[in-house]
Symmetry: C2
Subunit: 465 residues, 2 copies
C-alpha cells in the first residue's frame, strides 16, 4: 500500500546514496545469476525444509512453546547448512491461545455451524452467549447502523472476498476481521461473526488476527469468530426467509499478558562490504489451525534454500552480507518485524535492500520495487533473471512483504518477488494449510527466482535510496 509518510522517508537520502550507481548489474553477474537459477530449478532443499518444519513442528502459534520449537528447529538447520552468526533475537509479546469454539443455530432451524475464533477474540465465558442475529453486508454498514439495531444482538457481517492474483482482495476483506469486534462493542452488541476472509467454498473457517496483539488491551472487543463460507451461505439463506435467527456461541480463548518469541537470524558475511545488508525474510510462526505450510513454511524453505545456494556458490562470501531473518510472531501483528526494526534501528541505513517471501508457494509472476524514483531501473536489474523465469516488471509501490513494514517505513528499499496468489486464500489461516498443498516444482521455481535476486543484490555495488 502507498503510505505517503513512509514514501517521504524514502526520499531522504542516507550517506550511502552518495556512492550510488557505482557498480551496476553487469552482464557477467547476470549470467552467473542465471546459471544459479537454472540449477535451482532442480532444488529439493526448500521442499525438504518445509516438509521438515511442518512435520516435525507443525502448527507454531506466536508466543507458544510450539513457536519456540520452530525456532530451535530453524537454528539447528541454519547452522547445519553452514550459515554464520545464527542466533535468536528475543522479544516479548502478549499471547492469545484458542480454546473451545462452537456455534449453533438455536432457532428456527437448529444445527451446528463451523467457526473459528479470530485471533485476539475475547471469551464468551463457559456458558457461551445466545442472541438474535443482525446481519450487515459490510463493516461500513455496521459502522453506520443505529446502535439500537445492534444492542444485545449478535452481529453477522456477510461480505465476500474477491479472488485476485495479487492478493489485493485481502486488504479490503480484512477490514471486517480487524474491526468487527470493536464496532460491535461500541454499539452494544453481544458478539461478532464474519464470513471468513478467504476464497474457498470448502467448509473451513479462516482465522486471523483482529487488531495487532500488542493493541488488544486498548479495547477488548466482543467475542468474534469467522464462519466458513458454506456456513455463512446457510446463515444468509435462513435470514433471507425473514425469520428471527438465534445463535449460541461458545469461545474460550485465553490471553496471557507476556510470552516469549524471537526472530531467528543467519548470515552469509560479505567479503568486501560486510556492513551492507541484503535482507531476505520469511516468518517462522503460523496460525494454530493448520501446519503453516503455505503460510509461511514455504517462504522459510524458499529463502533459506536460495541463500544456501548463494553460500555454496561463493565460499568466500558475496560482496555484501546476506542476512536471512525468520521473523517471529508475524501473524499476530508483525511483532517480530517491529522488534527487528527497533533493535537494528541504527543499522537500517546499511540495509541496502530487503524482501520477504510470504504469499504461499505459487510461482512468481511479477518483480516490483519500492526504491528512490531514479533508482527504479537499477533495482529492476536485480529482477533480470526473475523476469527470464517468467515474471513481468511491476511498479514502484512494492510492500516487500508484511514483515518489511517497519523497514520500509524507515526508508529501507524493498522489492517484491510477487507470487501468484490466486489459490492462496483458499487455504490461508485454515486447518487445510498443510504440506500436500505445495507443489515441489513451484517451490523450486521460487528458489530459482530468489537465488538470482539475492546473488545480484549481494554482488552488485548499487544503492536504491
Amino acid at each position: 500500500m502507498y503510505a505517503p509518510a513512509s514514501f517521504a522517508a524514502l526520499l531522504f537520502t542516507f550517506a550511502l546514496t552518495v556512492t550510488a550507481s557505482a557498480q551496476p548489474v553487469t552482464p557477467a553477474l547476470q549470467g552467473e545469476a542465471a546459471g544459479l537459477a537454472q540449477e535451482a530449478l532442480q532444488d529439493e532443499l526448500a521442499y525438504e525444509l518445509v516438509t521438515s518444519l511442518t512435520t516435525e513442528v507443525g502448527p507454531r502459534l506466536a508466543g507458544t512453546e510450539a513457536e519456540a520449537r520452530a525456532r530451535a528447529w530453524a537454528v539447528a538447520r541454519l547452522r547445519e547448512l553452514g550459515f554464520s552468526n545464527v542466533r535468536e533475537e528475543p522479544f516479548e509479546l502478549p499471547v492469545w491461545e484458542r480454546g473451545l469454539e462452537q456455534a449453533s443455530i438455536v432457532s428456527p432451524f437448529p444445527q451446528p455451524l463451523v467457526i473459528s475464533a479470530l485471533g485476539g477474540s475475547a471469551a464468551t465465558g463457559p456458558e457461551g452467549i445466545t442472541g438474535e442475529v443482525v446481519a450487515f453486508p459490510s463493516l461500513a454498514a455496521l459502522e453506520q447502523a443505529d446502535p439500537a439495531a445492534v444492542r444485545g444482538k449478535i452481529v453477522f457481517i456477510d461480505e465476500v472476498m474477491t479472488r485476485t492474483q495479487d492478493g489485493s482482495g485481502y486488504t479490503v476483506a480484512t477490514a471486517k476481521r480487524r474491526q468487527a469486534a470493536y464496532v460491535t462493542q461500541a454499539k452494544g452488541g453481544l458478539a461478532a461473526l464474519i464470513r471468513s476472509v478467504g476464497t474457498s467454498s470448502h467448509r473451513f473457517a479462516h482465522t486471523g488476527q483482529m487488531r495487532r496483539v500488542t493493541e488488544v488491551a486498548e479495547a477488548e472487543g466482543v467475542p468474534a469468530a469467522a464462519l466458513s463460507a458454506p456456513d455463512a451461505d446457510q446463515l444468509q439463506r435462513i435470514l433471507s426467509g425473514g425469520e428471527s435467527v438465534r445463535i449460541h456461541l461458545l469461545l474460550t480463548p485465553e490471553q496471557r499478558p507476556a510470552g516469549k518469541s524471537a526472530n531467528v537470524i543467519a548470515e552469509i558475511p560479505g567479503r568486501e562490504r560486510p556492513q551492507e545488508i541484503v535482507l531476505v525474510g520469511a516468518h517462522i510462526d503460523s496460525w494454530d489451525l493448520g501446519t503453516g505450510a503455505v503460510d509461511d513454511g514455504a517462504g522459510v524453505g524458499i529463502v533459506v534454500a536460495a541463500a544456501k545456494r548463494v553460500l555454496d556458490a561463493l565460499p568466500e562470501g558475496p560482496r555484501r552480507t546476506v542476512r536471512v531473518v525468520l521473523f517471529g510472531a508475524e501473524e499476530v501483528g508483525l511483532v517480530g518485524a517491529k522488534a527487528y526494526a527497533s533493535r537494528h534501528a541504527d543499522a537500517l541505513a546499511n540495509h541496502v535492500i530487503a524482501s520477504e517471501s510470504d504469499f504461499g508457494a505459487g510461482r512468481i509472476w511479477r518483480f516490483e520495487t519500492r526504491v528512490r524514483a531514479d533508482r527504479v531501473d537499477a533495482a529492476q536489474a536485480l529482477g533480470a533473471v526473475v523476469r527470464q523465469l517468467g515474471a513481468a516488471p511491476g511498479g514502484n509501490t512494492a510492500t516487500g512483504g508484511p514483515d518489511m513494514k517497519y523497514l520500509r517505513e524507515a526508508g529501507v528499499p524493498v522489492v517484491g518477488l510477487k507470487q501468484n496468489g490466486w489459490d492462496y486464500f483458499d487455504l490461508h489461516h485454515t486447518p487445510n494449510d498443510t504440506l500436500d498443498k505445495i507443489d515441489p516444482e513451484d517451490l523450486a521455481h521460487n528458489v530459482a527466482a530468489w537465488v538470482s535476486f539475492i546473488f545480484l543484490a549481494a554482488n552488485s555495488g548499487e544503492y536504491y535510496r
Copy 2:
C-alpha cells in the same frame, strides 16, 4: 455386488411373470417420456427441495430428533406437492451419537490431528487413551499380524482409496472402516485409526458406519476414528522416520439402545394396476457432520421432483402405482431398507421394478439393470431416454442403490441410473457435504433421466422377473 443367493431368487418366477412382455415400451410412450425429460432439464424443484432440506433441517442423523424433523419436513412437502398416501412407517433402532473427538501426536512431534469417530465407535472414556502407534498398509495386513505386535497399541491402517467414476473404489476401501475396531480388539489393541475412506486431499475426516448399528452389540470393538488425508500423510511421514510415535485419542460418543426412525412414503396411485409398484427411493437421514446435500439430499430432490412431474403429466395417474420411499437410517446400516422389506414382504412380488438415487448430484452416465436374463432388453427399454441424455447401457449386475439391498435379495428387479461419482467421495461423510457443492443444472439433468424412467416403468405393462 454379485450375490449368488439373491440372484438365484431372481430366477424364481412369480405369478406376474407369466404375463410378461405383453405391453412393451412403445415409440409413442418413449416420445412422451422424452418430452417430459426435455421439460425436466429446466427443473427447479429438485434444487429447491435439497436447499430446503439442508437449510431448514441440516444434519439429520439416524434415530435423532433431527431425523424426525426431516421426516416432518418430507411429509409436509410431499402432501403439499399432491402425492397420495403420504405416511411414515416407523421402526426402532439403536442410536449412536458423536461426542467430543480429539487426537494429537504426543511424541515425538506434538501436534493436533483432525479426526472423526467412526459411526458405532466405542468411547475412550473421559480421559482418553494414549498409546504407541503400529501401522499397517491394509486391513489384511492387520488381520495377519502377530497379536504381540498389536497388543496395547493404537493401530493405524493407512490404505488409500482409489478414485473411480463408478464408486467401485469405495467397497474395497470400506473394509478397514467396517472391521478395524473389531480386529484390533481381537488382537488386544487399544484403538484403531484409519486413513479416511475418501478421495480428497482437503483436511476433512470422513466418518461412516463400522458394522451395521444393529450388529454392534455383538462385538463393541475398540474406539475407532478416521484421520483426514493430510493427517494420515503426516502420521505416515513421522512413522517413516523410524521413531516411536505416541498418540492421545479422546472419543466420547454415546450409544442408546432404542431410538425411533421411520421411512416416509408417498404415492401416485396407478389407474389400471394400482397393486403394481414402481418404487423409487432416496434416503432422508444423513451423517451428522455435513448437511447431507450430496448424501442424500440430492437423491431426495431428484426422485421427488421426478415423481412430481409424472403426477402433473398424468392427473389420472399412470397405469401402475409409483411409490416414493424416503428411507430412514440408511447411513447406519440400511435399517430403514430392512424395515421396509420386512413390513412389505407379502407385497414384494408386486414390486415391478425399483431403484434408488443415492450417489450425489453428478450426471447419469450409465443405465444398468438386474433383471431376469431374458428381460434385459425390456428393462433397458426403460432407460431409452436416459441413454438419449448421454448415458451408456450398463450390464445386468446393478445394485439399484444401497437401500435396494433387501428388495433385490427378495427378487425385486432393480435398475441403476448411475451417477458420475468421480468427485463424490471428496465430500462424502464430511462436514463439507453442503449445498454449495451441488450444481443445479446437473441436478435437473438427473430429474430428466428419472422422470423418463418412472414414466416408462409406470406406463408400460412389462415385467422383469
